[in-house]
C-alpha cells in the first residue's frame, strides 16, 4: 500500500526550490532580488491513489470444528459426503462501500492444512448481495498440506465488490482419514483472494464518512547550505478536485525523540470536495488553494528535525447515501511558487 506522503513531497519541493535558487557562493554575482511566480510541480491523482487502493485481498479460514469435528483425538475421521457449508460473510473495507473494476485480475489459493483432503468438484462462490461475483469448481483433490492455485486468474473487469461479500463452499467432500488424528484447533483450510493490477471504474463511499492516512518518514536538512535569509513569500498549493471527497492536510516536523517541533501549515488546510448530484456522482470541479508561508525563521526552526509526519484526513461529502468516485474524476494538486529571492554575492 502506498504512503500518504504528499505533504512531505510538497515540503521536499519547497526545500529543493530553496536549494536550486541559492548557490550564490559558487559565482561572483551582484546582489539582487528577483520575484518568481511559477508553477513548480503538478500531480494528477487517480481514484486508486486517493483511496490507496492498489490491491484488494480477503480470505476465509475453515477449521475442523466448522466441519463438525471439535478438538480431540480420533482413531479415524470418516468420509464427508458432498455437502454445502454455511455461507460466510467477509468484510472487505470499513471505508469503501463498493468498488466496480475497470480491469483487474483475481487470484485464488486454497491452502489445505486440515488432516483430511478436499475432493475435486467442490465449488467456491463469492456473492455480492444476491449477485454472483465469482464461482469456481475445484478440478483436483487437495491433499492435506497441499495448496491449490487457481489458473488462470479471474478477470474482474466490470465486476462490483461491496463492503461485505458472501463466501459459499458447496459440494464440499472428503475421503476422511483412516489413521488416528489429533485436532487442536490449528488445523484449517484457508481460501484467499487477491485482486491486483486493478483499475477502478468507480468507488462508492458512504457519505459523511471519514478515514485518516498518516505516515512518518526520515527527514534531514541539517546538512543543507541553504541560506534562508534570502527568500520570502509563499508557496501555494492549488487543488482542482472533481471527486466528492474533501481532505484536511497537515505535516509535522519531529525531533529525534519524535516530539513535535513545528507544523508545516498553520492549522489543517482544506481541499474542498466536489459537489454531487442526487446519485452521488460529482458534477463540478472545485478549486481550492492553501498558502504555505516561506520564511527564514521557519527554516531555522525545522533544521534539527529528524522525522516528518504527514497527516491526511479524508471525508466524504453529503447529499446522497453514497458518493461515487469515477475513474474519470481527478484530483490535481499543483504547487506554485510566489516568492521573492534575494541573491547575494558571497565571499568564500
Amino acid at each position: 500500500m502506498n504512503k500518504p506522503n504528499f505533504i512531505y513531497l510538497v515540503l521536499l519541493v519547497l526545500l529543493s526550490g530553496y536549494g536550486c535558487g541559492f548557490r550564490p557562493n559558487k559565482v561572483e554575482t551582484p546582489r539582487w532580488t528577483t520575484e518568481i511566480l511559477a508553477p513548480l510541480v503538478k500531480a494528477p491523482l487517480s481514484p486508486e491513489e486517493i483511496v490507496q487502493l492498489d490491491e484488494v485481498t480477503f480470505s476465509k479460514e475453515i477449521k475442523m470444528s466448522d466441519l463438525g469435528t471439535p478438538n480431540g483425538t480420533y482413531p479415524l475421521i470418516p468420509p464427508i459426503p458432498p455437502t454445502s457449508l454455511p455461507p460466510y460473510t467477509i468484510p472487505i473495507s470499513a471505508d469503501i462501500a463498493s468498488v466496480t473494476f475497470a480491469s483487474g485480475k483475481m487470484a485464488m489459493t486454497i491452502q489445505n492444512n486440515l488432516p483430511i483432503n478436499l475432493k475435486a468438484g467442490a465449488t467456491v462462490t463469492v456473492e455480492v448481495g444476491t449477485n454472483v461475483f465469482f464461482t469456481h469448481n475445484l478440478p483436483n483433490d487437495i491433499n492435506p498440506g497441499a495448496t491449490y492455485t487457481m489458473t488462470p486468474e479471474y478477470d474482474v473487469t466490470g465486476k462490483t465488490l461491496s463492503e461485505n461479500i458472501t463466501l459459499k463452499l458447496t459440494n464440499f467432500a472428503s475421503d476422511g482419514s483412516s489413521s488416528p488424528v489429533t485436532i487442536n484447533g490449528s488445523e484449517k483450510l484457508t481460501i484467499s483472494f487477491s485482486i491486483k493490477g486493478l483499475k477502478i471504474q468507480n468507488i462508492g463511499l458512504a457519505s459523511n464518512n471519514n478515514f485518516e492516512l498518516s505516515d512518518t518518514t526520515d527527514f534531514s536538512i541539517s546538512g543543507s547550505n541553504v541560506n534562508m535569509g534570502e527568500i520570502s513569500g509563499k508557496f501555494v498549493l492549488f487543488s482542482d478536485n472533481q471527486m466528492p471527497i474533501q481532505m484536511r492536510v497537515q505535516g509535522y516536523f519531529l525531533d529525534s525523540t519524535k516530539k513535535v517541533m513545528d507544523s508545516l501549515l498553520t492549522g489543517t488546510q482544506l481541499i474542498n470536495a466536489a459537489t454531487v448530484d442526487g446519485s452521488g456522482f460529482s458534477n463540478s470541479t472545485v478549486t481550492s488553494s492553501v498558502d504555505i508561508p516561506v520564511s527564514t525563521a521557519k527554516f531555522e526552526k525545522i533544521k534539527p528535525a529528524k522525522y516528518f509526519k504527514s497527516y491526511v484526513k479524508v471525508s466524504t461529502g453529503s447529499g446522497a447515501p453514497l458518493v461515487f468516485i469515477r475513474n474519470t474524476d481527478k484530483l490535481t494538486l499543483q504547487l506554485v511558487a510566489d516568492i521573492k529571492v534575494k541573491i547575494e554575492n558571497k565571499q568564500n
Binding site: N2, I36, E49
Partner: protein, 433 residues
C-alpha cells in the same frame, strides 16, 4: 604623391569620409567621392575595427573588470534605461589591397576587403525577466524576443568608378558606383527569434511561444580560405556640388546578399508550450518526474545541406559638406591653404544585419585642413548602435605623396565613460602618384 592614413572610427567609419575626402578609402563609403585630382594612381589600404552597443556603458564595464561591486541601483538603471530592442555589434574591415586610377575625367578603383561583422539583438523585457523575475509580467503576454545573433565573414572584390555627369567639382553632378563580388567564408544567421512568455496571474501556468531559426555555414571547420557561399553587392552614390562651398552626397551602401550553400546547418523550432509544473506520477508512492521531457520541447530540428541567403547590412548615407577658407581647388598644392569643412551626416540602415541597424544615425563634424598637409577635426554623433559619441581625427599628408591619419568617431569611453557605449579604430595607408 603618396598617402598614409590611420583612423579610429565607430560603426560607419565616418572619419574616413571627413578626413580623407576624395580618396580611395573614403570612396568605399561615398562612391561618387572618388576623385584623384592631379594624381593618376593611388594605392591604399585600410583597417577598421568597431564595437558598439546602445546600452552598456564603458564605465560599468570597467567596474566589472576591476572587480568593483556594481550596485543594485546601477543595474536597475541599466535595465530600466534599455530600449525595447537593443543591439550589440562589432566588426572589422580590412582592405587588403586598393588601387585607383584616373583615366581622363573618370576615376576607377579596385579593392579587396576582408569583412567581419556581428550583431546581437536582445530585448529589455528579457533583461527585466532576468533581473527582477517573471512576477512583474503576471497576467501579460510578454515579448521576450528578439534574442538573435547574426555574424558574417566575407571577402569582397569591388570594381568602382566615379565621374561627373554635369559640371565640375565646383558646381556639378558626380556619380559613382562600386560593383562587388563577394565570397562568403562563414556566417551565422537567425532570421527568426520570436519568444513570448505568458505568466498566469495566479502563477499556475507559464506559456512559452517560440519560433526560432538559426542557420550557419562554414562554422564547424572554419578556415579563412574556405569559401562557403557567394554573392554580389553594389554601392552607389551621387554628389551634388551646389557651389564651391556646399556639397551634398547621397549613397546606398552594401545593397546585395550572399548565398551560402556549403557546410550549411539549420536549427529551427516553432511551438507553444504551457508549463504547469513538472508532472509527478505515482505521487503517493515513489514519486517520479522527468525534467528531460521539458528540455526536449525546445530541442531544435537539425538539418544539414541546403542553402540560405543573408543580406548585406544595407544602409543609406546622406551627407552635406560646407566648405570655406582658401582656394577650394583640391588639385592645388597650396602651401598657404587653410580650409574648413563642416559635415552633417545622416545614415539610415535598411535592415538589422551585421554592420547595419535600422536605428538612425546622425553625425556632425568639423575638419581643418592646414596647407593641405594636415587634417584634423572633431565629430559628435548619436544613434545607430551607440547612444552618443564624440570623435576626433587626424591625418598627415607627407610631401603630398604619403598620407597618414588617426581619428575616431567615438572617443566617448575616454571622455565620459558613463556615456561611452562603443569604440572603433581605423587605419588607412595610401600612396598616390
Amino acid at each position: 604623391m603618396a598617402f598614409i592614413a590611420t583612423y579610429v572610427n565607430a560603426q560607419y567609419n565616418l572619419s574616413t569620409t571627413y578626413c580623407e575626402h576624395n580618396d580611395l578609402n573614403a570612396s568605399r563609403y561615398e562612391p561618387s567621392e572618388l576623385h584623384l585630382g592631379k594624381k593618376h594612381v593611388q594605392i591604399g589600404s585600410n583597417f577598421y575595427f568597431w564595437i558598439a552597443n546602445n546600452a552598456l556603458d564603458y564605465g560599468t564595464i570597467q567596474k566589472f573588470r576591476k572587480g568593483d561591486a556594481v550596485t543594485d541601483q546601477e543595474i536597475d538603471n541599466f535595465v530600466n534605461n534599455l530600449e525595447a530592442k537593443n543591439q550589440i555589434g562589432a566588426g572589422q574591415d580590412f582592405q587588403i589591397a586598393g588601387l585607383a586610377l584616373r583615366l581622363g575625367k573618370m576615376d576607377f578603383s579596385f579593392s579587396a576587403v576582408d569583412k567581419f561583422a556581428m550583431e546581437m539583438n536582445y530585448s529589455q523585457n528579457l533583461m527585466k525577466l532576468a533581473w527582477k523575475g517573471n512576477k512583474q509580467f503576471a497576467g501579460q503576454r510578454t515579448q521576450l524576443g528578439p534574442l538573435s545573433f547574426n555574424a558574417q565573414y566575407t571577402r569582397e572584390y569591388a570594381l568602382g568608378t566615379a565621374f561627373n555627369v554635369a559640371g565640375d567639382l565646383e558646381k556639378g553632378l558626380r556619380v559613382g558606383a562600386r560593383a562587388k563580388y563577394i565570397q562568403g567564408i562563414g556566417s551565422i544567421y537567425m532570421p527568426k527569434s520570436d519568444l513570448y512568455l505568458t505568466t498566469a496571474s495566479d502563477g499556475r501556468s507559464i506559456e512559452a511561444e517560440f519560433d526560432y531559426k538559426l542557420q550557419s555555414s562554414g562554422i564547424k571547420n572554419f578556415n579563412g580560405m574556405n569559401f562557403n557561399g557567394m554573392g554580389y553587392g553594389i554601392d552607389a552614390g551621387i554628389s551634388a556640388h551646389l557651389s564651391k562651398h556646399f556639397e551634398i552626397n547621397a549613397s546606398v551602401l552594401d545593397f546585395g546578399a550572399v548565398t551560402y550553400n556549403q557546410d550549411v546547418k539549420t536549427y529551427e523550432k516553432k511551438g507553444k508550450y504551457i508549463y504547469e509544473g513538472a508532472v509527478i506520477s505515482n505521487f503517493f508512492g515513489d514519486p517520479r518526474y522527468n525534467a528531460d521531457s521539458i528540455a526536449s520541447l525546445f530541442k531544435p530540428t537539425e538539418t544539414s545541406n541546403g542553402s540560405y541567403t543573408m543580406s548585406l547590412g544595407t544602409k543609406v548615407l546622406l551627407q552635406g559638406e560646407l566648405k570655406w577658407g582658401g582656394n577650394m581647388d583640391e588639385e592645388l598644392e597650396d602651401e598657404e591653404y587653410q580650409g574648413h569643412s563642416l559635415f552633417l551626416t545622416y545614415i539610415q540602415g535598411l535592415n538589422n544585419m551585421p554592420g547595419a541597424t535600422t536605428k538612425p544615425y546622425l553625425s556632425v563634424a568639423y575638419n581643418y585642413d592646414l596647407k593641405r598637409m594636415f587634417d584634423f577635426g572633431v565629430s559628435a554623433s548619436m544613434g545607430g548602435y551607440n547612444k552618443y559619441a564624440v570623435g576626433a581625427f587626424f591625418a598627415f599628408n607627407f610631401a603630398h605623396i604619403i598620407k597618414f591619419g588617426i581619428g575616431s568617431d567615438n572617443l566617448m569611453p575616454l571622455v565620459q565613460p558613463k556615456l561611452g557605449t562603443g569604440a572603433d579604430v581605423s587605419v588607412n595607408l595610401s600612396l598616390a602618384f
